[in-house]
Structures are given as C-alpha cells and as structure tokens.
C-alpha cells in the first residue's frame, strides 16, 4: 500500500486543484443555483472532457496504463472543495468501474471510449426507498422473447436528471432483500417507458426519481452475470463509497479552512475569537479527525488499485469516517461563523446542505459501521 502519490498523480492533483479553484469556484455553484440550472452544466462537462478527467481509470488499450482510482480520487477531492456538481463520480468512476468489472468485450468497446471522451454520462439507478439498501431491489426484470421487460421505480438517483444512460439494478429472481437474483441492465434515458422526474435538491446538485414501465431491454443490455449481478454491484458500490469519501474529504478540508480563516479574523471582546481556548480545542479536534480520515481515504483508494483483499473493509471505513467528518465540520462551520453562518449569502450553509447529501449516498456512517462490524465477525 502506498500513501505517496506518483509524480504523474501529483501533477494530476495539481491540475484538478487549479481547475476547481479557477473554473469551478463556489460562486459557480451559486450562480447555477440562482438561475435554476439544478446541476445541469454542459459547459463544465465539456471542459472536464477536454482535461481528460472522464478517462482517468480507463486505459487506451486493454491492460494499458492509467492514473488509477488514486488519480481519480484526487480529482474528486478537488471538486469536493468547491462543491462542484459534475458527472465524474457517476460516470468516470461508477459507470466505468461497472463496465470494466461486468461488461462484455462488446460493451467495453462501445462504452469505455465514450465515457473517456465525455460523450456519454451515466447514473446508477439503485435505491428504491429513502435509505441505502443495495439488496432491497424490487424492480422487476422479466424475461421475454429477445430480452427483458423492466418495471419499477428508483428513488433519488444521483445524476439521474442529467444522465444519457442508466445502469439499472433489477431483480430477475427471488425477492427484495435476496442477494441472488439481482441483474444489472444498461438502459438509455430515451428508451420507451423511461420517465425521469427531476428533483430540486437541498444541495442544488439535483437528482431524479426514475420510473421504468414496460421498458424492453435486449440481451445486449445485460451488464454482468444474470441473477449474480451483486458480484459486480458490490465492488462497484465499494468504489463509489471510496470516491464519494474522497469528495467529502475535499469538502471537509475547504469548510475547515474557511472556518479557520474566520477564527483568525473575527473579533469579539477585543480578541480574535480564534484565541478562545474552547474554539481552539474544537478546531484542533476537527483537524485530528481530518488527518485520520485522510489516511483512510488514501488507503482505500490505493487498495483498489493494488487489488487488495481488504477493499470492502477499507471502503466502509473511509465512507463512515468521511461521513462523520463532513457532518462535524459542516455543523461547526455554521456554528463558529455565528449569525453570518445562518445567512444564504455566506458559504457555510452550502457546505452543510451538500454534506447531508454526501453522507446519505452509498451508505451513511451507521450503515458502514454495521458493515464494518459484520466484515470483522461481530
């Protein structure tokens, strides 16, 4: 395992940090929100494609070199700093991983180049209730003559309002809750019977409820093994949790730095409020938690690239730690800013709103604690 970036990864990180700072500052999200764009941002998508950010874990030839999840993690951390709404997590990480892990040669040849060029965006249509429960899938895929007929509804699909393609988690056997009987499908947004209900979300990134009504999918649309889709879905969700954690680390770091600046500039009782020990100790504790979370995220990203056996454990560790961290830091960011933190014109609220979405995606802290315990046999 390595905690030290390669030179190439270091350069990628610098590029991503500069891009987020210069092209996607917080004012960018604010402007998108104020004009009601709800996370739709075709211009940014174009720029990300030009930078090659969509293809960071995809090699030009099969088996060729790429920056790895460690590289993509640097980009996600950078965009987390400014709360940028981009399709990278859904497309460059989740869809690319799902197609790499489960796709046929033909599917890989068709979709991986399109993903790498930024020509197709994806969304993973998984949750059917208000809580992350990846095996609780009731959406039905019934075998017909040439393929399958899909019926069901997916709730709060992140990036679902802006995606060209859906990876739909459906049931070909058994009942909601069963691990066996899950199958993944590639479904175009414009397929007959797909209805996208765009959602205006608290973080201004947007999402969608997606309904599938008698949607016909051919054999070529099956992604990975029939009935054993969980074998693909679970490692994909581990990577998703790790990528989301990297983004949360960036958001936490930025919110913390903003708070620290305020502590060093705001005066009360003739003193900088950062000289008060009660605030100093809370800041120091946040920093300690952040350092620990950074270690977990770095270890999890590196474990995926190294193909280690402990990816699942490290994914749950990273996502739980990052969820707790972003929760703590975003709350403290509002509190330590005092009244100004309650206003819309100041930024702490934006971090807190985004934090709750980040926490909920791919399992919150308690979900991952429970899983960590299970993986450790208690």
């Amino acid at each position: 395992m390595s905690f030290v970036l390669t030179e190439d990864q270091e350069m990628l990180r610098d590029t991503a940090m500069a891009f987020a700072r210069d092209e996607l500052p917080l004012t960018h999200l604010r402007a998108l929100r104020d004009k009601g764009a709800n996370g739709h941002d075709p211009e940014t998508r174009k720029k990300l494609a030009e930078l090659g950010f969509f293809g960071v874990i995809i090699s030009d030839e099969p088996g060729g070199e790429h920056f790895g999840l460690v590289g993509l993690g640097q980009i996600l951390e950078a965009q987390g700093r400014t709360l940028a709404a981009t399709p990278l997590l859904q497309t460059a990480l989740i869809a690319a991983s799902a197609i790499q892990l489960g796709g046929s040669k033909a599917q890989q040849a068709e979709w991986l180049p399109k993903i790498a060029m930024g020509e197709a965006t994806f969304a993973l249509a998984l949750d059917e209730s208000a809580h992350f429960a990846p095996l609780n899938v009731a959406t039905e895929a019934e075998r017909n003559g040439q393929g399958y007929t899909l019926n069901g509804m997916k709730r709060f699909v992140p990036g679902g309002h802006d995606a060209d393609m859906f990876i739909v988690v459906a049931r070909t056997f058994g009942e909601a809750g069963d691990r066996h009987g899950i199958t993944l499908f590639l479904v175009p947004r414009d397929a007959k019977g797909v209805t996208v209900q765009e959602l205006k979300t608290v973080d201004s990134h947007g999402a969608a409820h997606v309904t599938f009504e008698d949607v016909i999918v051919g054999e070529g649309g099956v992604l990975g093994p029939v009935d054993e889709g969980a074998d693909v879905l679970e490692p994909v969700l581990d990577r998703a949790a790790i990528g989301q954690a990297a983004e949360m680390l960036g958001s936490s770091a930025a919110a913390f730095e903003m708070t620290l600046e305020y502590l060093q500039s705001r005066k009360q009782f003739g003193q900088l409020i950062g000289s008060f020990q009660s605030l100093q100790h809370r800041a120091a504790k946040m920093f300690t938690e952040m350092e620990m979370t950074r270690s977990c995220v770095a270890a999890a990203l590196a474990a995926v690239d190294a193909g280690s056996g402990d990816v699942a454990e490290l994914a749950s560790l990273a996502k739980a730690k990052a969820s707790e961290l972003v929760h703590l830091v975003s709350n403290e960011c509002v509190q330590m800013h005092g009244g100004i933190g309650m206003t819309d014109v100041a930024d702490p609220g934006l971090y807190m709103k985004r934090a709750r979405v980040q926490e909920a995606m791919y399992g919150g802290a308690s979900w991952h604690r429970d899983r960590y315990a299970r993986l450790n046999g208690f």
């Binding site: 003193q271 008060f276 100093q280 504790k285 620990m292 270690s295 977990c296 770095a298 960590y372 208690f378």
Partner: protein
C-alpha cells in the same frame, strides 16, 4: 561508479537473516510476556536467561539502536537497511531486545544536542542496555506548565548543586541515571532552564514509588537534597535546556503513540468484541446481541484502524521526504483516546467479570483488563495532557493566536 542499492540491500537482507537465524534464541521468538520485558540497567534481573543473551548479541551489533552512528555504539545502518532489519525481525517474530527511555527519548536528544565527549560517554551503554535512564521533568508545581519548574541548580564553581523535587518520574527507583530539567536562572521562565544528567546513586537522591489507582507503582516522587553534579554533565548551554526539553517531548510523544499505548491489543486480553460475544451473547447471525454496544465497539475499532493507517501514512511520507510537522501531538492525542475507549469497552463488555481485583474467582485476562483500564486513565495526562496537545495543534499547526 555503478552502485546498485537494491543489490546491496538484498545482500544485507541475506546476511541479516543468517545472523538472526543463528543468534536469536528460541524463546525470544515467542510472544512477549509482561514479566519478561527487559529494561536493562543494573537492576535488571533477566527472569528469562535467554533475554540476557539476546540483549548482549543485539547490543554488540548496535541493533538496539540501528540508525545511531557506529562511533557511539549504534548499528550505523541507513534507513533502508533498518527497514530491512525490522522486516526480518518481524518475520521471525523476534521480541524487542530492549525497552528503554534511553533509546526512545534521551539518546535521540543527546545525539542532537550533546557534545562529542557526552555522546561517547553515554550512548554506548544505552545501546547495550547497561544503563537505565529515567526522566526528571514534572514537579509538584509544574505539570502541564512544565516550564514553571523550580528545582534549583546552582553553580558552585567546580560543580553544580541541585535541590528540589520531581514527580511522576517513571521507574526512578529502578533507573541508574536521570536526565533532568533544572532551573539555573530564577529571573526568567523558559530561558532559565538547563538540561543536566546525573547518577541516581549520588548522595542526596531519593526515589519513593507512588501507588496508583491500578495498584501498580510505575512512577516515583524523586527528591534531591544538595546533590553534587560534575559540570561536564550539563547538556547544551546553561539556560538553553528548554529547546532540548521540547525536542525530547516530541520523541516521547512519538514513542508513546507509535505503540498507541498498546491500544490495539494487549497480552492475554481479548478484544472488546470477543468479550462482548462471550458475555453479552450473539444473535442468530453471529452479531453482538446488544446493538448499541456493538455500534460503539465498531466505532472504536474503526478509530483504531484509522489511527494505525495514520501512523503508517506519516512514516511513509517522512521516508519520501515530505514534511509532516507536529504530528506528534495529533498522534499522542489520538493514542490516548483510542486506548481509553478500548479499555472502557473492555470493562463494559466484561460486565461483572471486570469487577475483580485479585485472587481467585475471576479470569486472569479480565483482571489484567481491569488494571489496564485504571492505568489507561493516565494516558491523557502523561507526556502532555490531551488539552495541552490540543493547544499545541491549535497554535503550532493551525496557527491560532494566543489571547492578547
């Protein structure tokens, strides 16, 4: 000239492996027993005779202090060679040959601040485990405010004369020598402190063990009455001791947190999840039946994992030459929390099994956990309280200003 580092390291690994194979006694490759830890010095009894042989052999090679210069008795190894040595030691599950404040704290400070004669005089006996050192820092009136120390050191022309009292001196009753902070100028605070060394057998030195709530006495009150110290035993310059003191505290905090106070395990004591499974029970899926306790144990285990990953990350980054400043305080704070949380969970999971003190009727491992729980309360006090460490992080890492 072609210089193949990898080839050299491979050769070193082969030699090391052969040497360890020939020289590490069989019982030194079994898990360490608390009663067989070797601290060295004149009071060392070596209850396991093989531990004496092991210390002598490792000390002769200088491998108790692998990276110290050979001129001072150290191994003279490079970082890379030391990494290989540690890997080979781990491979055969070798016990550490020596536990020593001299190795962990005083030696590194003397290497930086001592003069040539002092290094030659004191370091080799630390490496060989012949001299056991203790640390004279805290005083009854100077705990967290260490620089407020009052132990007087007067210049009497051809010697120094020391009068005062230290407290929380770890193993002062067993140590041969002491490294000690003393006041050489009463008119200023930090700038009036000096760093001095003396023999614990000097007339006027008295160490009295302090009985702790855990029933053990690892610390002493140490009294100095007209103790005469030769002038060449002052390290650095007169009134220049605070800088050495601070540096040494970093070594102390690092050595404490590297082991996490043993917060990720302990000899003969099961983990809280194991005790919970035994004493609380499990549900049909093998989970701890008390969901609330289970969640808190998981939370702790994750904290411990995150802590260990952080130690690893900082080690790797330091090796790669990346600056990792003031991490000692972060890790010391984290290590104390981790070990205290672990012990509280052990006690909770053990239930009434954890409420024994001594004698029959209780599991021996459980009774050690109970003593360990009481002892762990000191973790957030010794070596800089958690509050002081948070101050250090706030001020030196985050740059927050003092109250004006």
């Amino acid at each position: 000239m072609a210089y193949d580092v990898t080839e050299d390291l491979d050769a070193f690994r082969a030699e090391t492996r052969d040497w360890l194979e020939a020289n590490c006694p069989p019982s030194m490759r079994t898990p360490m027993k608390d009663s067989e830890v070797v601290w060295g010095g004149k009071s060392e009894k070596f209850p396991n005779p093989e531990s004496k042989i092991w210390l002598e052999r490792m000390g002769e090679k200088g491998w108790t202090a692998p990276e110290w210069p050979a001129a001072y008795g150290g191994g003279g190894l490079t970082k890379e060679q030391n990494r290989v040595l540690q890997e080979e030691l781990r491979r055969i599950k070798a016990r550490p040959a020596l536990f020593s404040f001299g190795l962990w704290m005083f030696g590194p400070a003397l290497l930086e601040f001592g003069n040539e004669e002092q290094k030659k005089r004191f370091l080799p006996d630390i490496v060989k485990g012949k001299t056991r050192w203790c640390q004279g820092y805290s005083e009854p009136g100077a705990g967290s405010d260490l620089a407020g120390l009052q132990t007087r050191c007067e210049d009497k022309g051809d010697h120094y004369l020391i009068n005062g009292q230290k407290v929380w001196t770890s193993y002062a009753d067993k140590a041969d020598w002491i490294f000690c902070l003393v006041r050489t100028d009463t008119s200023t605070k930090h700038e009036g402190i000096s760093f001095i060394l003396f023999d614990m057998k000097s007339p006027g030195v008295e160490a009295r063990p302090i009985l702790l709530i855990s029933g053990e006495s690892p610390f002493c009150e140490t009294f100095f009455t007209d103790v005469k110290v030769p002038k060449d035993q002052l390290v650095g310059r007169v009134n220049g001791g605070w800088e050495i003191a601070k540096r040494l505290l970093q070594f102390e905090r690092s050595s404490i947190s590297a082991g996490g106070f043993g917060g990720t395990g302990g000899s003969g004591i099961l983990g809280p999840e194991e005790y919970a499974k035994i004493h609380v029970g499990t549900d049909s899926e093998g989970r701890i039946a008390d969901g609330d306790l289970r969640g808190r144990i998981a939370d702790h285990k994750m904290y411990a994992k995150a802590f260990n990953l952080t130690v690893q990350r900082q080690t790797e980054q330091a090796k790669a030459g990346q600056q990792v400043g003031h991490t000692a305080s972060i890790l010391k704070y984290g290590a104390a929390k981790m070990n205290q949380d672990r012990h509280e969970l052990l006690i909770e999971a053990l239930g009434s099994e954890a409420l024994g003190w001594e004698g029959e009727g209780f599991d021996k491992g459980a009774m050690r956990a109970t003593r360990g729980w009481l002892r762990s309360k000191g973790n957030s006090i010794e070596g800089g309280t958690s509050e002081i460490n948070l101050n250090v992080i706030a001020k030196r890492v985050l740059g927050l200003k003092d109250h004006q």
